[in-house]
């Protein structure tokens, strides 16, 4: 299921990125948000509620669209361009520094 619907500008070259391990196709010039929501319903899991989130303001103000790279970097999906080879996670990676105290 897709959330966003493309209404034009579809003659752009395509590129491939990985989301949660699976390849997806996007178009050059897509934001990560558009790339992900053109083929999925959500971007991330809310930290404090049961619901999935899909961004809100699209202008870098609400901070609802942060996704993660497999190496643990944070990307704001509405203001980051999709790029070939990106490996994106839509769930926050479990901490790599667990303590056993």
């Amino acid at each position: 299921m897709s959330r966003f619907v493309r209404l034009g500008e579809t003659d752009r070259p395509s590129l491939t990125l990985h989301v949660d391990g699976a390849p997806i196709a996007a178009l050059e010039g897509d934001t990560l948000m558009v790339a992900l929501l053109s083929q999925g319903a959500a971007l991330r899991q809310s930290e404090f509620g049961p619901e999935r989130r899909a961004g809100f303001c699209l202008m870098g103000a609400c901070q609802d669209c942060w996704v993660w790279t497999e190496s643990g970097d944070r990307l704001r999906a509405c203001s980051t361009l999709a790029a070939p080879g990106q490996r994106i996670l839509t769930s926050q990676p479990e901490a790599s520094w667990p303590t056993h105290a």
Binding site: R3, V5, R6, G8, L58
Partner: protein, 458 residues
Amino acid sequence: MADPRIIIVGAGPAGTRAAEACVQAGIRPIVLDEGRRDGGQIYRRQPDNFTRPYAKLYGTEAPRAQALHETFDGLKDRIDYRAETLVWNIADGHVRTATRTMESALPFDALLLCTGATDRLMPVKGWQFAGAYSLGGAQVALKSQAVSIGHKVVFMGSGPLLYLVASQYVQAGADVVAVLDTAPYSARIKALPDLLAVPSVLWNGVALTLALKRAGVMVRNSVKPLEILGNVEDGLSGIRFRVGAGAEQTIACDAVAMGHHLRPETQLADLARCAFAFDPVTRQWLPERDGDGRSSVAGVYLAGDGAKILGARSAEASGRLTALAALGDLGLPVDKGEMASLRGDVGTYAKFARGLATAFPWPAEQAGALPDEAILCRCEGVTAGDLRAVMRETGAKEANRAKAFSRVGMGRCQGRYCGLAAAELIAAQADIPVEQVGRLRGQAPVKPLNISIGDTDA
């Protein structure tokens, strides 16, 4: 004296015209902007490899958008333009910037804040579901990415942007199910005298409504939003509402664009220690400024919608006026006649903006009526009931106090999207005027700041 150091924050209508005035005066300003491209939000530019013409992107405002972009393109060699740069703090005569992990402290003699606006939101139960977007966000999706936010879209809220974006969606071929305006039609009649200050904009608005109706879009006034329906996995599935005192209705949709006009981005003015005052017309706290854009802090100037919502046309005028005021204060020759004329333009738009506030009133009462289970603060997942419980237990009725105890406004967005509604809820619950609730203090960083900031190896 060396050339004065002028820093302009924001490359939208106000920032562009301010930069132009500086360049004309022989100054090379630094222009800092978070965007990848200039234009700001309202005249946001599409990526380089997109091909839609101006008329398609900006409708009636196409000539203004094009003129602004061409002006900026012409300035690029004569300004120090830093795109994708966040101003995260201001202190001791320096702005602090972050570009990825690079951090800089830039000194200034004059700082022009042209920070623009974001949507003003009134929460509706269920607005945390995927598929709910701000009205401005819905417009960005279309303008800068050529996508619709959903397969079946409802526009809900109030303000001129509601009709503008809905009709842009229709024209672009999106399936717009309904436009649900919380304002009564009578409010628009009442506002006519002020709206006539700028007849062309008034007429554009009327034409938009007619076009929507002709396209078969359901348009309703006096709407009381009750609930955004949906589920935690798939997101939004419909909207439940009432028209006036009528029966409840439900519309199926998978996206809603919501907003009640705009609010200025005032955090940097706050960090620059500018004084604020309550504006009873918009029920917002705004940084104080004189008619030429001088803030209460020497050397700090405020222009455009980032200071007060007067619209893009006014922002161009106030950006230029404020820059001229700053240049004059720095001892450079400025055209006093032009300043007087710009002041007149800004005044006209101020009258029109007052009309808009009357025509599309902020439905403050909706905040007090939010059901306890409704999420109020999306970032922290705080419900209206959580805030009310905190107020009962602690007696808190000041905005920052309520935030400290309840976490409302404490999340990543720093209260941009819940702060005004939370203040109205507190006022309703405590039965006090909203100005007594006060305003959330701005805290650095203005946007999230990476801990690797300043790490040159990162």
